[in-house]
Symmetry: C2
Subunit: 754 residues, 2 copies
C-alpha cells in the first residue's frame, strides 16, 4: 500500500503527466488529446478533472515542485516499468493504482493517450530510476512483411536466389592476394553465368528473361556476398553483354550474346582512358575505317590515351572498345567496336598491350587493367552498329543525323547500369546498417551508477540519431530505385531523357549516401568496425568508388541540373530561353506568395509529419533553385559572357539543384509505394520512416530554407526536435527494420552482428 496525497483517479494519470512535463516536448495539439481523454473519463469526479486540466495549461505549467512530487510518488512505489507490455505506461499506471487501492477499477481510458501520442518507452524510460526491463526489440512488426514489401513483384526469384547463394563458393572470406581473390571471383562469375543469372536482362532467345528489375535485385544481393563479385558480374553481364545487346544488331546478338550471358565469352567494356574519364566525348582512341581492306583499325595515339581501369581486362577474350570512328577521313564521333584481345590459349593478340592496374583501396577481386592498341585491325562487322553503321560501300550511315544526339543516345543505354550501381551501393549501406544496429543491440557501455548493467549503446540518443535516419533513408531510396527501374524498363516509353536526368541525380545522391552511411556504421562500431572480419571495413572500401565509376557524382549532378533546365524548356514547349524564364517566374511567384509567416512557423506535429509539407518544401527548393539558376545564367549571357563560362560560374549552384531535385524525386517515388500500402499499422510505420527521411533532409538544408524565409526559427528548431524524436520513437522497431532489408542470415557473418 503506497501512501500518497493523490486520489486514485488522479494517481493513475501521474505517470503520464510526469512523462509529458519532464520533457516539455508535447505540442498544443498533442495536449488536446490528453484533455479529451480526461473530459470523457467518467471515472473522474469534477474536482479531479479540474485539477488535471489545470496541469495541462501550457501558459502556466505545473511547478517544478509538483513534478518532483509526481516523480517521488513513482519512485516510492517501487513499481517497475515493463517495456514489452502492450501499453507499458498504461500498465504502469494500473499497477500504481492497484498498489494504492487493490482491486479498484482500472481506468482504461489511459490507453488512448498512449496510442494517440505515440509515446514509446524509450521516450521516458530514462525518467524512471527503477530498473527498467529492457527489450531488445518490439514484436509489433514482422520483418518478413517488410521484406516482402521491399521485394515487390520479384519475390519468388529473389527467394530462390537467396537459397542459391547459400553455398560454400559464395562464403565471404578475406583474400589479401589479388591473384587468389580474382580467381575466386572468376569462379563465382562462371557459376552465376552457367545458372542463367547473368543473362536475366537479355531477351529469351539469348538465355534471359528480359527482366531488368529482377537483375537489379540480384545485383544488390551480390553485394551481400562480396563487392568484387557484384562489380565483376556487372562488368561482364551488364556493361560488356549490355553493350552487345543495346549497341549491337542481330548479327552481334546471334554471335555473342548467349555466350556472354553464360560466361562462356568473357569481355570488357573499354571506354575510360587515362586522359579522359568524365569527358567521354574527348577520348582519343581512334577507329579508322580502311576501305581497301574493309577493316577498322583501332589505335591508341598517345601514351596517355590508353584505356584505363577496365574491369575484367585480365580475364577477357574480347572488349567493347569506344573510339572516335573515322570513315573516309571524317570523324563520326564516339562509337563502340568489338575488339578481340586474346586467343584461345589466353595469349594477348598482336598489337595489344595489357597491364594490371594493381592494388586498389577495395574491389581487389576485380581485375582492372590498362589496354593499349597499336594499329589493331578488326572486321567492319565488329562495329556495334545499331546507331551508326558503315555500309558495304564504305560509307557511314546513321538514322540519327545530329552527332550530339547520336552520342547521347548511345550513352543513354548505360542508364540501366547506373541504376544498378546505385542499387549495389544501397545494398552495401543496408548491410552496414544491419551489422551496426545488431552490434548496438548487444553492446553495452557506461551506466548509471545505481544500475548493475551498462546501457545498450542503441539506447543512447546520439546513437539513435546517427543510425535511424540512415535506416529510414535506405527504405526511401530502395523504393525510389525500384520505381525508377520499372519506368526505365518500360519499353513503351521510348524517350528516356527524363529518366537519364533522374538516374544521374539519384545515382549521385544514393552512392554518396551509401558511402557516408557505411562510414558512420564503421565509426558506430568503434574499433570492431575496423576489423576486416566484421565486413564494414570491406564494404567501406568497396563502395567508396561507386561515387566515381559509371559517372563521377560531381559531373553527373551537373548533367542532372542541365537536364532539369532543359526539361523546363520542354515542359513549357517554348522556343526561347527568356520566355521559359517568364513562365517560370510567374509560376514561382504564385508559389512564393504561399509562404506566409503562419506557414513558415507552423510547428505542430500533424503539419511536420504531413507528406504534403515535405513535398511542398522539396518542390519549393527545386523550383527556386531552378529559377535563380536560370536567372543567373541569363544575366551572364546578356552581358556577353559565353555560355560555357556562364555555366562554370554557376557550377556550385548546379550541384545544389541536382541534389535538391534528386531528394524531391526520391521522396515522390517513395510516396507512390507508401500510398499503395493497405495495412494501416505498416502504413503508419512507413509514414514515420518517410517523415524522418524528409525532415532529416530539410534539416540538412535548413540554412537555405531559413535564408529563403521558407521556414522560421521556431519551425527549424521544431524540425530538429522531430528528427530526434522520430529516431527515438523508432528505437523499439530498429531491429525489425534492418531485418526487413532481407539480407540472408548466411551473408551476415560479421562476428559482431551475431
Amino acid at each position: 500500500m503506497v501512501t500518497t496525497a493523490y486520489s486514485l483517479g488522479i494517481l493513475q494519470y501521474i505517470p503520464f503527466f510526469y512523462v509529458i512535463w519532464s520533457d516539455d516536448l508535447l505540442s498544443a495539439s498533442e495536449i488536446s488529446v490528453v484533455k479529451k481523454t480526461i473530459e470523457q473519463d467518467a471515472s473522474l469526479n469534477p474536482e479531479e478533472k479540474q485539477q488535471l486540466m489545470l496541469w495541462l495549461n501550457r501558459e502556466n505549467p505545473p511547478k517544478d515542485e509538483e513534478i518532483k512530487s509526481w516523480k517521488q510518488t513513482i519512485s516510492h512505489s517501487q513499481i517497475k516499468l515493463i517495456e514489452n507490455d502492450t501499453y507499458p505506461l498504461t500498465s504502469f499506471s494500473q499497477r500504481l493504482g492497484n498498489a494504492h487501492c487493490a482491486g479498484c477499477e482500472f481506468n482504461d481510458h489511459l490507453k488512448h493517450i498512449e496510442i494517440n501520442l505515440g509515446i514509446q518507452p524509450n521516450h521516458y524510460n530514462h525518467l524512471f530510476d527503477v530498473e527498467v526491463i529492457h527489450e531488445r526489440t518490439s514484436k509489433q512488426y514482422d520483418a518478413e512483411v517488410l521484406d516482402n514489401l521491399l521485394k515487390g513483384s520479384h519475390g519468388a526469384l529473389v527467394d530462390s536466389f537467396r537459397k542459391f547463394i547459400d553455398q560454400p563458393i559464395f562464403e565471404w572470406d578475406i583474400d589479401r592476394d589479388k591473384e587468389v581473390f580474382r580467381n575466386r571471383v572468376l569462379e563465382q562469375v562462371f557459376l552465376l553465368g552457367e545458372k542463367g543469372y547473368g543473362a536475366m536482362a537479355y531477351p529469351k532467345d539469348f538465355g534471359g528473361i528480359e527482366n531488368m528489375p529482377a537483375y537489379a535485385a540480384i545485383f544488390e544481393h551480390l553485394m551481400y556476398v562480396d563487392g568484387s563479385l557484384a562489380v565483376k558480374f556487372g562488368v561482364q553481364f551488364g556493361l560488356f553483354g549490355g553493350s552487345i545487346q543495346k549497341l549491337g544488331t542481330a548479327k552481334h546478338h546471334d554471335q555473342y550474346l548467349k555466350n556472354a550471358g553464360r560466361s562462356k565469352l568473357l569481355g570488357c567494356f573499354a571506354m575510360t582512358e587515362t586522359g579522359h574519364g568524365s569527358n567521354v566525348r574527348g577520348i582519343k582512341t581512334t577507329a579508322t575505317y580502311d576501305a581497301s581492306s574493309d577493316r577498322i583499325i583501332i589505335n591508341t595515339p598517345g601514351q596517355n590515351d590508353n584505356k584505363e581501369y577496365i574491369g575484367n581486362a585480365l580475364h577477357s577474350k574480347i572488349a567493347t572498345v569506344f573510339a572516335q570512328l573515322i570513315v573516309n577521313g571524317k570523324n563520326e564521333g564516339v562509337h563502340a567496336i568489338l575488339v578481340p584481345l586474346r586467343n584461345e590459349k589466353h595469349e594477348v593478340l598482336e598489337g595489344i598491350t595489357i597491364e594490371d592496374n594493381g592494388y586498389k583501396l577495395g574491389l581487389n577481386g576485380v581485375d582492372n587493367g590498362k589496354i593499349w592498341f597499336n594499329q589493331v585491325k578488326v572486321p567492319r562487322e565488329n562495329l556495334l552498329d545499331k546507331y551508326g553503321e558503315i555500309r558495304k560501300d564504305g560509307s557511314y550511315f546513321s538514322a540519327i543525323k545530329n552527332p550530339n544526339k547520336r552520342f547521347f543516345t548511345m550513352l543513354g543505354t548505360l542508364v540501366g547500369g547506373r541504376i544498378c550501381v546505385a542499387r549495389g551501393a544501397l545494398g552495401g549501406a543496408k548491410m552496414a546498417l544491419t551489422i551496426a544496429v545488431k552490434y548496438a543491440l548487444g553492446r553495452r557501455q557506461f551506466n548509471d551508477s545505481i544500475k548493475m548493467q551498462e546501457d545498450l549503446i542503441m539506447d543512447y540518443p546520439t546513437h539513435q540519431l546517427r543510425l535511424t535516419p540512415l535506416v529510414a533513408s535506405a527504405y526511401v531510396y530502395h523504393f525510389a530505385l525500384e520505381e525508377l527501374m520499372k519506368q526505365y524498363s518500360d519499353n513503351s516509353k521510348s524517350d528516356k531523357r527524363m529518366i537519364e536526368t533522374q538516374v544521374a541525380g539519384l545515382k549521385s545522391v544514393i552512392t554518396w549516401f551509401a558511402s557516408d552511411t557505411i562510414q558512420e556504421c564503421r565509426e558506430a562500431c568503434g574499433g570492431k568496425g575496423y576489423l576486416l572480419e566484421n565486413r564494414l571495413a570491406d564494404l567501406r572500401a568497396d563502395v567508396d568508388i561507386f561515387t566515381t565509376f559509371e559517372g563521377d557524382n560531381t559531373v553527373l549532378l551537373q548533367l542532372a541540373a542541365k537536364g532539369i533546365l532543359s526539361d523546363f524548356k520542354a515542359e513549357f514547349n517554348s522556343a526561347g530561353f527568356s520566355s521559359v524564364l517568364k513562365l517560370l517566374q510567374s509560376q514561382l511567384s504564385d508559389k512564393l506568395t504561399a509562404i506566409n509567416p503562419l506557414y513558415s512557423n507552423k510547428v505542430d506535429a500533424e503539419h511536420l509529419y504531413n507528406p504534403k509539407f515535405h513535398q511542398h518544401a522539396f518542390n519549393y527548393r527545386t523550383r527556386r533553385l531552378t529559377y535563380t539558376l536560370a536567372m543567373r545564367i541569363r544575366s551572364y549571357i546578356k552581358k556577353g559572357v559565353p555560355a560555357y563560362q556562364a555555366f562554370l560560374k554557376v557550377q556550385t549552384h548546379l550541384l545544389a539543384l541536382g541534389k535538391a531535385y534528386s531528394v524531391e524525386l526520391a521522396y515522390k517515388e517513395y510516396l507512390k509505394v507508401y500510398d499503395g500500402i493497405e495495412d494501416t499499422e505498416y502504413k503508419d510505420l512507413m509514414k514515420k520512416l518517410g517523415s524522418l527521411y524528409a525532415l532529416y533532409q530539410i534539416r540538412l538544408d535548413a540554412q537555405w530554407y531559413l535564408e529563403q524565409g521558407y521556414i522560421g526559427s521556431s519551425k527549424s528548431k521544431a524540425i530538429r526536435q522531430r528528427v530526434e524524436r522520430l529516431s527515438s520513437e523508432l528505437r523499439p522497431h530498429i531491429e525489425v527494420l534492418v531485418e526487413g532489408f532481407g539480407i540472408p542470415d548466411h551473408c551476415v557473418t560479421a562476428p559482431i552482428a551475431q
Copy 2:
C-alpha cells in the same frame, strides 16, 4: 589600331568595369575604392570622370547592352590576358590603351584598384574569350617561408629528420601480407629508436631531450612515411614508454625507460578490453595484491574481458596492463602494472594467451592483438606507483585521496598522446591535400569548344570550393595543435584540466576533419585516387581509425562539453550550479543585446573578413550553447530527473557544444600565431586562410546562426559567396600553400602528384 567609341581615358577602365559588373559581386565599400581612384586620376577629364562615376551607381547599374559593348571592345582587341603579369588586369588595360593610341601615357592609377580589391585572374579569366595564358601557380609567395612558419621553433630538428627519413628503409611500399608488412615496420621502429627519435620526449638521463613538441612534429612526419609506422612508433615510445615515464617512479625509469626509448625493450599498452573500450573505468581485468607472496596477481575474469586491439602485442616482451587494483579486499580503482609477456626466446609466458587481431581496413603494419591473463603473478614493484602505491607493509597509499580524481589524474597523462593523434591525422590530411592539389594542377578535363586545350580541374569553381577551405583548415589546425602542445608541455602549469578539455575537443574535430578531407581528396582524384600506388586510399584507410582510438570522438566531445560546464563553474568560483547559471545568464544577456539587425545583416567585405567578427560569432555560439545546455539540465534536475539521465537527454546538445568550443579554440590559437607574423604580405595570406576557415565553419552552422537571429538571410548568403570567392582568390597560391606544408618530395611518391 582598335576602333572604339571610347576615349583613351575611359578605355583603360573598361576591363575593370567589365570584370566588376559581370559578376555583380562587389560590395559598396569595394566600389568606393574604384571611385577614389577615379577621383584622384589626373589623366581623366571631367566628362570622363562623370561617365565613369555614372557606371558605378549600384542603384542604377550599367545596362546589359553597355556591358556587352565593353565585352566586344575587349574581344575585338584580340589582346591576351597574361596571368603571370604582376598586375594582369592593369597590364591588360595598358595594352588595350596602347593598341588604341601607341605611346600614349599609361594610367598607373589602375594598379590601386587591382591591389585594393584583391581581384585575381581566376576571378575573371573566364570572362575573356581570348586565350588566357594560364599559370600553374603564382610566384608571389614562397613555400619555404610558409614551411618555416609551420615548423616554428623546431626547424633544425625537423630539417635533419627529413633528411634522415630519405633512405631506402623508409620508402613507402605496398605489402599486402601482414607478416611481411609488420616486420618491415618493426625494422623501421628499431632504427628510429636506435637513433634516439623515440626517446625525444623523455628526460635527458634516459636518452631524450625532453621535447614533446618536437616529438609531435616527428610523429607527424612519420605519417608521410607510413601510417602503420607512425602508430607503432606511438605505441612503443608514446604509450608504452610514456606510461613508464608518467605513471612510474624512479625505479621504473631506471630499469626500463632507456631500453624502451632505444627500442631494446618492446612493450605494449594494454588498456582497452573487448567488453570495455570507451568506459575505461569499467574494465574487468583484476590485479589482486597477495600479501603472503608479496605479489600482484593479474587475471582476466571472463572470456570477454581480455585486452583487445593492443598494438605491438605480437612483438612485445612486456605490457603496461591496466586493471582494477585490489588490496586487502578493497578495490582501489584502475591502476597500471608492468607485466612481462614473453621470454628472451620470444615464447609467451605461462598464464598468458595472445591472439592476433587479424586484418584491418588499414594499419596492417601494426601488430594488434588480444591478451588474456590467467592468474599471472608479478612482483609488487611492477605497479607503476606514481599516483598510488602498495607499501612494504601491504597497505595501499595514494596522495590523491579521491579515487575519482586519482583515476582522472592517471588518464590525464594520456593527453599528450591525444595531441599526437590529432597531429598525425592532420599530417595525413596535408599529404592527401598535397597529392590532390598537384593532381588538379596537371589534370585537364572538358573545355570550351573554342579552345584547343581542356581546362585544369583546379580551375573549376567546384574543385576550388572542395579543396581550398580544407587547405585553409589544415593551416589553422596546425597552429592550434602547436600552441596547445606548447601549453601542455609547459611544466609550470600543474593543473592540466583545462588542456584536457581542449585536447578532447580538438582531437575529435581534427581527426574527423582529416578523415573527411582525405575522403574528399580521394574523390577529387577520381579513379586514380582509388589506386593504392597513389597513397590516398592508404591514407584514408589508416587515418579512419584515428577518430576512434585514444578516445572515441563521440565520447570525447561529451567529455569536452562536461569540462566546459565545470570550467564555467570554476570560472565564476561559485558554489552552486544555480548561481553559475545566474551569472551565465546575465553575462549572456549582455552579449545577446549586441545582436541588432544592423549587425546581423552587415555584409561588407571588411566586416566579413574581420577576425573580430569570426571570434564574436564563435564565442556567441559556445556561450549560447553552454547556457541553453545548463538551462536544460537544470530544468530536468529540478523536476527530479537523475543527473545521469538528464545528461543522456541532452547528449546531442553536448556534442554540438563540444564541437563549437573546439572550433572557437582552434581559431583563437591560430590568431595568436597570426598576430605574431610581421611580414605584411604573408600576414595578408594568413588572414585570407583564417577568414576562409572561419567563414566556412560559420557556413557549416549557418542554420543555427540563422535560427538564433545572429545572422540574417542576406548575411548568410554573403558568407556563402565569400567562401566561394576566397576559394577562388587563393587559386593562384594553392600550390605554394600545399608545398608550404613541407612534406619532403621523397615522401610524395604518388604517380599522380608528379
